[in-house]
C-alpha cells in the first residue's frame, strides 16, 4: 500500500530499503536551505527516506549543516527548496508526531520528573489531559528504568537519568519519528555507551523510527541501519553507508573487524573532504 516511493526527479541517491520494513515514515526530497539572500548555502539537495522502525544517523563535522537539517525536519525552520513529508503530510511547523531530544536534557527544575514528562501533553491538550497522561508516563518511566522517580525533582537526577526522563518526554506524545540531536554527548563515555544500548532497546521495543545527529562514528555505526555522511559548504550527503551488522547490536561488536572496517570507511569519507 504505502510502500511505493514517489518518484523524485533529480534525486542523486535512491532511498535504501531498511531491514525492518518498507513503510516510509519520513521523506526529504531535494531539500535545500540558503541564508542571507542565497549567499550562504547551508544545505543542498538533501534526499533521504526513513522507513518505519529504522534507525538512521547523520554524521559530519561542525558546520556541515546537520543542525539546519534537523531543524527543518522538526518543522522549526522552513526549507528554501524541496519537499519535507512526514506520514504523507508536508511538515510546515511543529507537529505532535515529531519527538525531539537535545544534548541537554532541558528538564524544568520547578516541575517533578513526571510533570516534565507530560509537559508536551499539557501544552497541546491542557492540564486535564496532562493529568490523564500520568499513567502512560509512569509506564514510560518504567521502560527507561526510572521507576519510582516520578515525584523526584530534576536536581535529584544524575545526567544519565535526566536524559532518560527526556526520552520519556519525547515518547509521551507517541511521535512517528524521533529526532535526536547528539542526545548523549554531554554524558561521560561509559554512561554514553550504556545509554546508546538503552536507546536501541527502547527504539526496538516500540518499533520507533529514529534519526540521530552525531559527531561520533562508532556511535553512529553501533546504532544505525544507515549512516549518512555529510560534507560541508554546501551541506550535502556524500554517501549513504548501509550498516549490515546483525541486531540486536551489542557493545562487544565494537571490537569486530567488520565494525572496524565500517568505521574506517566512514572516517575515510569524512577525512577526504570535510576538514579542508
Amino acid at each position: 500500500m504505502e510502500c511505493q516511493y514517489p518518484l523524485m526527479p533529480g534525486s542523486a541517491t535512491m532511498p535504501v530499503a531498511t531491514n525492518t520494513s518498507h513503510d516510509v515514515v519520513y521523506q526529504l526530497s531535494g531539500v535545500s536551505k540558503t541564508y542571507a539572500r542565497n549567499a550562504v548555502h547551508a544545505l543542498e539537495d538533501i534526499n533521504l527516506t526513513l522507513g518505519k522502525g529504522s534507525f538512521s544517523s547523520i554524521i559530519g563535522s561542525s558546520g556541515c549543516g546537520k543542525s539546519t537539517l534537523l531543524k527543518i525536519m522538526a518543522g522549526l525552520i522552513p526549507p528554501s527548496r524541496g519537499r519535507v513529508v512526514l506520514q504523507g503530510r508536508p511538515v510546515t511547523g511543529s507537529r505532535r508526531d515529531i519527538g525531539m531530544m537535545f544534548q541537554q536534557a532541558t528538564l524544568f527544575p520547578w516541575r517533578t520528573t513526571i510533570e516534565n514528562i507530560v509537559l508536551p501533553i499539557e501544552i497541546r491538550d491542557g492540564k486535564a489531559a496532562a493529568l490523564a497522561a500520568h499513567e502512560p508516563a509512569r509506564a514510560l518511566l518504567e521502560l527507561v528504568g526510572l521507576k519510582g522517580f516520578d515525584k523526584a525533582y530534576p536536581s535529584e537526577l544524575s545526567g544519565g537519568m535526566a536524559q532518560r526522563a527526556a526520552i520519556c518526554r519525547m515518547l509521551i506524545t507517541e511521535p512517528a519519528v524521533l529526532l535526536l540531536d547528539e542526545p548523549f554527548s554531554a554524558l561521560d563515555e561509559l554512561t554514553r555507551d550504556f545509554m546508546n544500548m538503552e536507546l536501541q532497546r527502547i527504539c526496538t521495543s516500540r518499533n520507533a523510527t529514529a534519526f540521530l545527529v552525531t559527531h561520533s562514528i562508532p556511535e553512529a555505526v553501533i546504532l544505525s541501519d544507515v549512516v549518512y555522511v555529510m560534507k560541508p559548504r554546501p551541506g550535502r550527503i556524500a554517501e549513504e553507508v548501509v550498516i549490515d551488522l546483525p541486531r540486536p547490536r551489542t557493545l562487544d561488536m565494537i571490537t569486530t573487524p567488520k565494525f572496524g572496517a565500517l568505521v574506517e570507511h566512514i572516517r575515510g569519507r569524512l577525512d577526504k573532504e570535510t576538514f579542508i
Binding site: S94, M100, F102, T106, W110, L119, P120, I123, R124, Y153
Partner: protein, 284 residues
C-alpha cells in the same frame, strides 16, 4: 595535642586531623555578637574620651535610652506610631505600584522586540538620572500629602523590577526555547510555563533591590516634602539637635526595611525552591 598524637591514639599513622583556622570555626551568633560588642565598645570610648561633641555623636547609653523611649511611644500608640503608619503606607503603596508598573514594563521589554528596541533605551536614559531630583516635581504635581511620597518611592523602585523581569525573561536558554517550539507552544504558554519561571531568580533579585530603594524613596520624599511620616520626625529631631532621637528613629526604620526585605526573601524561598541562591543578602 599534635597531629601525631591523634594518629597514635587511633592506631594508624595515616589518620590525621584536617586543620581549620580558628577564625573560620567561630559560630555565626558568637561572631556577630563579637562584632557588635567591638562596635559599641569603640563607640563608647570615642564618646567618653570627649573626641566628639555629644551633639554630633551621642553615647551608646543615651541612644539606648532613647530607643526604649521611642519603643514605648510606638507601643502605646502615640504620635510616633501614627507617623510610622504614614511611612508604612507610603512604602506599601509605592512598592505595589512599582511592582505593577515594573512587571508590565519588564514583560513588554523582555518579551517583545518592540519593547526592547523602542522602550528600553528610554528606560535606561531615565534610570541613569538621579531619581531623587524628581522629588520637587512630584511635590509640585501631587502636593505635600502622602501621594507625592508614594510617587517618588514607586518611581525609584520601578527600575530594578523592570530590569530584573526583562533579564529574567532573557535567561531561558536556546534549548528550552527550541523545546517549547517543537511542542507547538503559543507565545503566552512559552511566557508563563517557561520564561517567567526560569526568570524568577532574577525577578526576585530586582524585587529585593526595589524593597530597599522603596524605603529610601519614601523617606527622601518626606525630607523634601514634609508630611507626617517618620522622615519628618527624623528631620525635626535633627533640627532640634536631638541626635539620640535621630539614631533611634533610624534604627526603627531599618527594622521596617529589614522586615520588608526579609519578606521578599521568604517569598522567594517558597516560590523559587529549586534555585539555591548564594548571594550576600539572600541569606538573611
Amino acid at each position: 595535642m599534635t597531629q601525631k598524637d591523634h594518629a597514635q591514639e587511633r592506631g594508624s599513622d595515616t589518620v590525621w586531623i584536617e586543620q581549620v583556622a580558628w577564625i573560620d570555626r567561630v559560630p555565626r551568633p558568637v561572631a556577630m555578637a563579637f562584632v557588635f560588642a567591638v562596635f559599641v565598645g569603640i563607640w563608647h570610648i570615642v564618646t567618653q574620651a570627649g573626641f566628639v561633641s555629644p551633639i554630633i555623636l551621642p553615647t551608646p547609653g543615651e541612644t539606648f535610652a532613647d530607643l526604649v523611649l521611642v519603643g514605648r511611644n510606638l507601643i502605646s500608640g502615640e504620635y510616633m506610631l501614627a507617623a510610622l503608619w504614614v511611612t508604612l503606607r507610603e512604602v506599601a503603596y509605592g512598592f505595589a505600584i512599582a511592582m505593577m508598573i515594573g512587571f508590565s514594563l519588564g514583560i513588554i521589554v523582555g518579551e517583545t522586540a518592540f519593547g526592547e528596541r523602542a522602550i528600553m533605551p528610554y528606560l535606561v536614559a531615565i534610570d541613569t538620572m538621579p531619581k531623587v531630583a524628581f522629588a520637587p516635581l512630584f511635590i509640585a504635581w501631587l502636593g505635600f500629602g502622602i501621594e507625592s511620597k508614594v510617587a517618588l518611592a514607586a518611581f525609584i523602585a520601578t527600575f530594578p523590577i523592570v530590569v530584573g523581569t526583562a533579564a529574567g525573561l532573557h535567561s531561558a536558554d536556546a534549548n528550552a526555547r527550541m523545546l517549547f517550539k517543537t511542542m507547538g507552544a503559543s507565545r503566552l504558554q512559552t511566557l508563563f510555563k517557561m520564561k517567567l519561571p526560569t526568570g524568577l531568580p532574577q525577578i526576585f533579585t530586582g524585587l529585593k533591590i526595589a524593597s530597599v530603594s522603596v524605603m529610601a524613596g519614601a523617606i527622601t520624599g518626606e525630607f523634601l516634602g514634609g508630611g507626617r511620616g517618620f522622615g519628618e520626625l527624623i528631620r525635626v529631631a535633627s533640627t532640634q539637635l536631638n541626635t539620640p532621637r535621630v539614631f533611634s528613629l533610624i534604627i526603627y526604620l531599618s527594622l521596617v526595611g529589614m522586615a520588608l526585605f526579609g519578606t521578599v526573601v521568604w517569598i522567594q524561598r517558597r516560590f523559587v525552591f529549586w534555585h539555591k541562591e548564594r548571594v550576600v543578602g539572600g541569606d538573611l
